[in-house]
């Protein structure tokens, strides 16, 4: 086995340029496949996370409010219009199991971040919330108190440290995981009371924003009762509550999802084609290599190499080359994704795809799969020519016939 492997390695070394070209060709193919698969899986799981972890089936906002489809499902956008906080509590709609009110104020000169950055201050009701705290990745080991804030993943501050907002001290109570949704990433979350206490410091064009008043909210994130049909729930809400608009997660996201699915299918088809053509190329190349080495293979057979050893040697040679190509391709893919990470995430979020990278272990699995696939291509591509040559009589091979 070691002998065959070293023979195979030496054979690769004989035609360095050709081996290198083969490795590069396989690297390009497996790089594309690895990158494509990683992005696909990332997008897929981002969307899954968006739907499961953020948990809102629909969102109820003031009728005139602008909604950003991108984040519609996930968070309420800052707006001047407000709803009553006890809207749902009063109405008691059967198909709604939970309605989590949120206040969002986009403020400037708050003292958080650099001077000109606007910051979204997001108030939520801990008793009703189901979209913020599921994302907590770390927190202080006690209950939330007035004056505590939770930071989005995009903000940096040590747990328990003091954060000045408009000069008032707050305590960093916890931090959220990466969600891929801008408002969540950069937001500063707090209880309604904590947010309302800041009303005096915020100066809009017409005084403090209406949403900072007690009892007023920017909108509700709604979770439907189990089994409730979205369409019926929507009618129920619209007929019961006045002056609201319902944004259904499904309808906004399903369009994106369908478009994305088509795109992903296209990418998948392209990947399959790429792999198939690489396999074909490897096979053609190895037919030629086997023909070129017929004499040597015959010689090996003549001195007692078994068929399995002949085939093994050729397959090992191919697998080393294509496996190396796979490794190189994955490395290139990682490099490219690193280089274009920012613009990629920005672009995807712009077309409505909240983006979270696949976690490390899964990327490793995808990478391993790409390398294994590249190796399998080498094995399959070389197997048939090698097997055919190994069947022949050594004397015919040595004489260079067929």
């Amino acid at each position: 086995m070691r002998l065959l492997a070293s023979l195979a390695l030496q054979n690769l070394g004989r035609r360095k340029a050709r081996s290198l070209l083969l490795i590069i060709a396989v690297a390009v193919a497996s790089g594309v496949v690895f990158t494509g698969a990683t992005l696909m899986r990332s997008i897929d799981s981002s969307m899954a996370v968006g739907f499961t972890r953020l948990g809102a089936d629909m969102m109820v906002v003031p009728e005139g409010a602008l909604t950003n489809i991108t984040a519609a499902l996930l968070t309420v956008e800052p707006t001047d219009l407000v709803l009553d906080q006890d809207l749902f509590a009063r109405a008691g709609i059967a198909s709604v199991s939970r309605a989590a009110p949120q206040k969002i104020a986009r403020v400037e000169h708050s003292g958080i971040g650099s001077h000109h950055d606007s910051v979204d201050l997001i108030g939520f009701d801990p008793a009703l919330d189901f979209t913020v705290r599921p994302w907590l990745v770390e927190r202080i080991n006690r209950d939330m108190r007035p004056g505590d804030v939770i930071l989005g993943a995009g903000r940096d501050a040590a747990l328990g440290s003091e954060l000045l907002i408009f000069g008032k001290p707050h305590t960093v109570y916890g931090r959220l995981g990466r969600t891929g949704v801008g408002t969540h990433e950069r937001g500063v979350f707090m209880s309604f009371a904590t947010l309302e206490a800041l009303a005096g410091s915020v100066h809009g064009p017409n005084g403090p924003p209406a949403v900072l008043q007690k009892g007023k909210v920017s909108g509700f994130l709604v979770e439907l009762a189990p089994g409730a049909a979205p369409l019926q729930a929507r009618f129920a809400i619209l007929s019961t509550l006045k002056g609201v608009k319902v944004v259904t997660g499904d309808s906004t996201m399903s369009g994106i999802r369908q478009g994305l699915a088509a795109l992903l299918n296209g990418i998948l088809a392209l990947m399959v084609l790429m792999f198939a053509s690489t396999a074909l190329m490897v096979s053609v190349l190895f037919s030629a290599i086997v023909t070129e080495r017929r004499g040597e293979l015959g010689l090996l057979k003549a001195i007692g190499a078994r068929r399995g050893q002949i085939v093994g040697m050729m397959v090992i040679e191919a697998v080393i080359a294509t496996g190396a190509g796979g490794v190189l391709g994955v490395a290139l893919g990682v490099l490219v994704m690193r280089l274009y990470e920012r613009s990629l995430v920005y672009y995807l979020e712009n077309i409505g795809v909240p983006f979270v990278w696949l976690d490390g272990p899964r990327i490793v699995i995808v990478a391993a799969a790409a390398i294994v696939m590249a190796s399998i291509i080498g094995a399959l591509g070389s197997l048939y020519p090698a097997w055919r040559a190994s069947r022949r009589d050594p004397y015919d091979l040595v004489r260079g016939e067929g």
């Binding site: 054979n11 004989r14 003549a302 001195i303 078994r306 068929r307 009589d393 050594p394």
Partner: protein
């Protein structure tokens, strides 16, 4: 030890079938030195290849030490080539990517079993005996044609075969080298008792043989 019965080899070509070997019966006793002579194209190489397990006969049997070699399974035949036969080709037949010592050790390594340190020590000894002690680490392209042929003989001997088949091993070498290499082969035959079958055009060499097989048009001429 070697016997051929009704051996035939027909090649199918575009111009019809060519009978390269057209029915040969032959016995060669163990430890003999036999020479096969005949004109070019008479079928000598085809016969040797069938005897050595390199080319499947169209008809007939080859029996070595009582074993019908072409009745063996693929792997058993490979083992037979590996353990029982030492083949010396007419042309350069070393693997160019391996050093001489690797080439010589290769049949033993392919066969498995022996420890590689033992095998390599043996390969070095054999190369030394062939006068190549200083060239163990040389690659085939770095030594002369005659030295390459000696290395091939060393390779043929590494597994201590019962039968050495040499198909015009010296036809492309100068006279002096030819004599030296033939001396090596005959010494192996004499000293180790290895059966030697030699195809040659050199009648002087053939005359030293204990048995001369004259072939014309694929059959033995009495």
């Amino acid at each position: 030890m070697l016997s051929c019965r009704g051996l035939r080899k027909d090649y199918v070509t575009e111009r019809g079938e060519v009978a390269a070997v057209a029915g040969i019966d032959l016995e060669i006793a163990a430890g003999r030195y036999a020479a096969i002579i005949g004109r070019s194209g008479s079928g000598k190489s085809s016969l040797m290849a069938m005897i050595g397990g390199l080319s499947r006969p169209s008809q007939g049997q080859v029996t070595v030490d009582g074993i019908d070699i072409w009745g063996l399974s693929e792997n058993a035949l490979a083992a037979f080539r590996n353990k029982r036969i030492g083949y010396v080709f007419q042309f350069a037949s070393l693997l160019p990517t391996l050093r001489l010592v690797d080439n010589v050790a290769l049949p033993a390594m392919l066969g498995g079993g022996a420890r590689s340190s033992v095998t390599y020590a043996r390969a070095a000894t054999l190369l030394g005996q062939m006068g190549l002690g200083d060239h163990l680490d040389a690659y085939p392209s770095e030594v002369s044609a005659g030295e390459q042929r000696r290395a091939v003989i060393a390779r043929a001997l590494i597994n201590e075969p019962a039968l050495i088949l040499a198909d015009e091993p010296t036809s492309d070498l100068d006279e002096q080298t030819e004599i030296e290499i033939m001396d090596e082969l005959m010494a192996v035959n004499r000293e180790r008792g290895t059966t030697l079958i030699l195809v040659t055009h050199n009648l002087a060499l053939a005359e030293q043989a204990e048995q001369i097989v004259h072939i014309a048009h694929g059959t033995i001429v009495p």
